[in-house]
């Protein structure tokens, strides 16, 4: 068994962002930009061979038979502007929404987009409240009138003008800063939010994944147990890093007045922290759901799931991790080689429809 772990990227950009393909061999492979700013995809474990195949993005459909959904996703990513986790997520949701991955994927994508919209409203409101609070103004009247109502909006404008005056800046400037901050914080949300946003939820789930995997790997005699232990360790490191970044970010936002006053300096810090968080947690949704699905299944299927998780596990880049995870993974590999893994129906060489169906189900739940 080979895995993405046997190449050790230095940065997140070099590691690439995970793409939720439904073609089994391409599931959760990573896309990044090469030195000429062209997209390329990293494919581990091809025919159980060593190393990682790097295929130019344009050539991917020529090199692999892909599902129609994947062709669409491939096209959307190629036409998109970048390949950050957020860019990829946007493309993944719009590909899923069109119906090429089945009705479950449509439903999940629409729910995810609806949730994003709800979070956007919530964070905007919370930031306005924070701005008013930092200027010593009350915001309960807005809540009473309703943020979306004409009366509420007028009240908000008046209060915000007052707040801008108190903070020593023009109202449009204050609006622009809050809007920009809301954009950065949309996927993370505030610590005080009544409904945790996507990345906060993901961090909580990753914590549970680590616990569940550690418990599974302990006292387990299966050959996959050390691999499971390693996956739990990677999750642990990721959670620790994410928690540090999240804490710093929450502290910056908690000191809201300072944040607004020193916006030119602080915006960079906030932007960097939010980007880093989305990179840190990128690729885990699918693995968390894959594992949650596997724990209800047989031992053999759990072993297979652990191997599949290991194949595409998002290792922390060298610049991030204090310990050398790639080296640890390489050691593990030399002790746990596996021989055959089929992604295709062995009788016909065609795509394994059952496997595609399973990936689609998991993807539906992970959106």
């Amino acid at each position: 068994m080979r895995s993405l772990t046997n190449f050790a990227p230095s940065t997140f950009e070099e590691r690439g962002a995970a793409v939720a393909f439904t073609t089994p061999v391409l599931a959760q492979t990573r896309v990044r930009k090469d030195s000429r700013e062209q997209l390329e995809v990293l494919i581990p474990n091809l025919s159980e061979g060593r190393g990682i195949y790097v295929v130019p993005w344009k050539s991917l459909p020529l090199a692999f038979p892909m599902t129609a959904h994947d062709r669409m996703l491939h096209d959307l990513i190629a036409k998109g502007e970048g390949c950050s986790p957020d860019d990829i997520r946007k493309a993944v949701l719009s590909a899923a929404r069109c119906g090429l991955a089945g009705p479950h994927a449509v439903e999940a994508a629409e729910a995810a987009l609806g949730d994003d919209e709800e979070q956007r409203l919530l964070i905007n409101y919370q930031l306005i409240v924070e701005a008013l609070k930092s200027a010593g103004l009350e915001s309960t009247d807005i809540l009473r009138a309703g943020l979306a109502s004409a009366e509420g909006q007028k009240l908000t404008r008046d209060l915000m003008s007052k707040a801008a005056g108190k903070l020593g800046m023009d109202p449009p400037e204050l609006y622009a800063r809050i809007a920009e901050l809301a954009g950065y914080m949309e996927s993370i949300g505030l610590a005080t939010s009544p409904k945790p946003a996507r990345l906060r939820r993901l961090m909580r789930d990753l914590n549970s994944f680590r616990d569940s995997m550690t418990e599974w790997a302990t006292d387990n005699v299966s050959e996959a147990a050390p691999i499971g232990g390693f996956c739990a360790e990677v999750a642990e490191h990721t959670v620790n890093h994410a928690r540090n970044v999240m804490t710093q970010l929450d502290q910056s936002v908690a000191a809201f007045e300072t944040l607004l006053r020193q916006w030119d300096v602080k915006r960079g810090v906030v932007r960097k922290a939010t980007t880093r968080l989305s990179w840190l947690l990128d690729g885990w949704e699918y693995l968390i759901v894959l594992w949650a699905d596997a724990v209800t299944r047989s031992r053999h299927e759990q072993d297979m799931a652990v191997n599949e998780i290991f194949r595409v596990i998002p290792l922390l880049p060298r610049d991030e991790a204090r310990i050398e995870l790639a080296l640890a993974a390489e050691k593990l590999l030399s002790n746990n080689r596996r021989s055959v893994r089929a992604y295709v129906d062995w009788r016909s060489g065609q795509l394994d429809v059952d496997l595609v169906m399973r990936i689609e189900t998991i993807k539906g739940r992970a959106a």
Partner: protein, 437 residues
């Protein structure tokens, strides 16, 4: 915890976390052999098998050890053993065996429950005793009678099962060796070492108790993922019998295997009340055809024409099953589900059913030739693909972001499920390259 509380938990025990589940199983075991506990254990047995919980060794468990592979399957999808022994029958038999052997004597056999150099010898002696008791019970059992001691009505299957248990216990040491050869269960393919091992042990059985050879082979078959695999393997095994005896044994076994395939082919018949899921029918059909082909090859080797007609009938019944439950009306079901999307409704259940229909059709493509359904399947697939292509073109005429585009993409997905991604991608490229992409 009180016993009543535990039993009240019932199937909730299937969903509690593993550590707690193990604790509860341990607790239940300590509570003894009460009928309520047996019922609770019966409910949670699938999960116990799943987790491979190591049960506390007891004399009852040792009694069952040689014939446990013939117990009815817990998973409805798993193939049944060729000769089934009910757990309830065993539960009724054990107190009688216990009584006849005597508690004092049984105590002497407790050494077989612990590791030690004498373990196998003590176990062999116990099985020998148990076999004698069972032979006595078997001689006195008569079909149709209600047995007061067992509190069971004895039907022919139960009479047969009692005789089988007696025979298996009489060759228990050989069955122990057989389990070591055919392990871990289920064995999916017979390799040379398996065949050699079964042959050597089988020879021993044929010499000592020739009448036990058939049930010995049935136990061996129960340890395989598909019992018909053994039929093919049997031709490479010489148990040292006379040709006539060998022929008879093969005939009997083939009869049992074919009987089982016949039963399975009837298991998913549509009734006026319930129509089985098309994908489940397709899965069963693919599985049955594999069993049928393996059996046919084995029967051809024996050059015995007796089974040809039965096998033909089974093939005919699979043919009918696929024709009426997978192929019939599949095209209209799929096309209507997609057409509804164009109408603005979003009937997810119907769409999922249509997807299953499409997958079932594609699955059956692998067995269509052998069932003589190639033409019909091709017609239905082509008809569906044609209508779906028209729907896709129409719905995507305004481009991929048009109001009806989801119906168009769903039609393309159905084509993909029916005919594979190459066809679907070709159509998608063709439509989208013409329109405003």
């Amino acid at each position: 915890m009180d016993i009543k509380d535990l039993i009240a938990l019932g199937d909730k025990l299937l969903y509690i976390d593993e550590a707690k589940f193990r604790q509860i199983v341990e607790l239940l075991e300590q509570m003894g052999d009460h009928p309520d506990i047996q019922r609770t254990i019966a409910v949670i047995r699938p999960r116990m098998v799943e987790l491979r919980i190591h049960r506390r060794p007891t004399m009852k468990r040792l009694f069952c050890d040689p014939f446990e592979d013939l117990f009815e399957a817990l998973d409805s999808a798993a193939p049944l053993p060729l000769s089934v022994i009910e757990r309830t029958l065993m539960n009724s038999l054990w107190p009688l065996v216990e009584e006849k052997i005597g508690r004092a004597k049984l105590k002497g056999y407790h050494g077989a429950l612990h590791d030690g150099p004498q373990r196998d010898n003590i176990a062999d002696a116990f099985w020998m005793d148990a076999a004698e008791v069972m032979a006595g019970l078997s001689a006195g059992s008569e079909a149709g009678r209600f047995d007061g001691a067992m509190e069971l009505r004895l039907n022919p299957d139960r009479v047969r099962a009692i005789a089988d248990i007696a025979t298996i216990l009489s060759i228990a040491p050989e069955i122990r060796d057989l389990k070591a050869v055919l392990s871990p269960k289920p064995v999916t393919k017979l390799h040379k070492d398996h065949i050699d091992g079964v042959r050597d042990i089988g020879r021993k059985v044929a010499r000592a108790r020739p009448e036990a050879l058939k049930i010995f082979v049935l136990v061996a078959a129960a340890r395989l993922s598909n019992p018909s695999i053994l039929l093919g393997g049997l031709h490479d095994m010489d148990f040292g019998q006379k040709p006539a005896e060998r022929g008879k044994l093969l005939m009997e076994l083939t009869d049992t295997v074919v009987g089982q395939i016949e039963d399975r082919s009837r298991s998913l018949k549509a009734t006026p009340d319930a129509v089985p899921d098309r994908l489940a029918v397709a899965d069963l059909a693919v599985d049955l055809v594999a069993s049928l082909d393996a059996t046919r090859n084995a029967v051809e080797l024996t050059r015995n024409k007796a089974f040809d007609q039965r096998l033909k009938e089974v093939r005919h019944s699979i043919h009918d099953m696929v024709k009426t439950q997978v192929i019939a009306d599949a095209d209209s079901g799929i096309v209507t589900a997609v057409a509804r999307l164009t109408g603005g409704t979003n009937d997810k259940a119907q769409l999922l059913e249509a997807e299953n229909q499409a997958r079932a059709l594609r699955k059956c493509a692998t067995i269509a030739d052998s069932l003589g359904l190639r033409g019909e399947l091709k017609t239905v697939t082509q008809k569906a693909t044609g209508s779906l292509t028209d729907q896709a073109r129409k719905a995507l005429a305004a481009g991929p972001t048009g109001s009806t585009s989801r119906a168009g993409f769903t039609a393309i997905r159905m084509i993909e499920l029916l005919s594979g991604p190459a066809e679907a991608n070709k159509l998608m490229d063709e439509i989208l390259s013409k329109g405003p992409r």
